[in-house]
Symmetry: none
Subunit: 219 residues, 2 copies
Amino acid sequence: MLIGICEDDPTIRRLVSQAMGFAGHEVLSAHNGGEALRLFGADSAVDVLVMDIGLPDSDGRDVTQALRSAGQVAPVVFLTALGSVHDKLSGFGAGGDDYLAKPFDVKELIARVEALGRRGRPTSHDPSGLVLNPATHGIRSESGQVLLTPTEFRMLAAITSRPGEVVRRRTVVAAAWPDGAVVNENTIDSFIRRIRTKLDSIGSPVTIQTVRGVGFRLL
Amino acid sequence: MLIGICEDDPTIRRLVSQAMGFAGHEVLSAHNGGEALRLFGADSAVDVLVMDIGLPDSDGRDVTQALRSAGQVAPVVFLTALGSVHDKLSGFGAGGDDYLAKPFDVKELIARVEALGRRGRPTSHDPSGLVLNPATHGIRSESGQVLLTPTEFRMLAAITSRPGEVVRRRTVVAAAWPDGAVVNENTIDSFIRRIRTKLDSIGSPVTIQTVRGVGFRLL
DNA sequence: CACCGGCATTCAGGTTGTTGGCATGGTCGG
DNA sequence: CCGACCATGCCAACAACCTGAATGCCGGTG
């Protein structure tokens, strides 16, 4: 895996880099927020980001949000000297996926990073390598990544949960509108269309096939 | 899972619906036998049916048999106010798979429903090695698989529900057009032909034999 | 408060797969 | 050998679906 690190303290940076190297991962490191924005944009292939919250030039949460709006969907682990619940929550609010208070055990960091990187169906190992990130509503394949809207994401999640199998329209609706809202049939098609557009905007190898009169399936 | 419930008592209906929702299942509910026949036909994707025996307009066992001959193969749990052994046996005789006496514990109902749902996943009880999947309208044999259209699927389901036995033309019609539509005799042949074509496009070992003047039979 | 941008929803029109039925030719039973 | 029944190929109508664009609905911003 390729891990992106944004951390101003050189000691921690080197420590983490070495440990990741031992664990078999590559590391790309940034010293501050500005560098992070350059290195970890949407075209960067990092699998997981490790982000210090207390950066010299900015707040790691702001950097993360900037990266998100630039299209970066990789999961993020925040590092911070502050251990309060409030900070933890604001970390998640900023689109973070995990949180670790300094001082931390390097092994724990590695474990969490690897867990995030693995995330994707453990059961139905989908052959496409399409990874959905619930924290950010982002999806990524080998060839790119893109952010989905909440409804788009729920809908796609329902379909990818059974790759290769047909998912009924009714099921897709139940997943996309959990409150049981009644929507025009056409609305479903509109969403499917936009998802398809986004899928192939990142050159994804997977496609959503429609099975007339039944539903959709991931191929 | 998609659970179909047929129960006239609104209290029980709501109770069960909510509980199923909590357990992560979708629910489709019918108030009486007639509605059940419309909602839970062969093209319905229900994974398990919960059927009250004491319905206002009919007997749940009769409804179940009607659904069976319409090609519905999902397992059924019967609910009843009567707890006698006799009723229990007649429930099994009607093609039921489990039995629960009122008043019942909702947790127990959920447990049984889930057990049945897991047990017969791609449901079809036919010995020929042909597997029908109601959720996807797909059929599979050792040698391959195809997707059928909704009408094709209902028709084939009716025939495979009695492998080896002759199914009358009128029975096939009733299964394929549950709304009681009147169709040209020739239309049946057209569909049979399409099904046959798809069957041998996957090199299926089973074939549909026509019994002149009577109907069809799976061999 | 007016404006803007993103999201959800709906509409209208074109496109395609499914249906149901026709015409034709074959096959079976008497 | 004839009529009833079934198989086959084909086509028109329809419903399901796709597509592009317009509308309404917030939450944030100047």
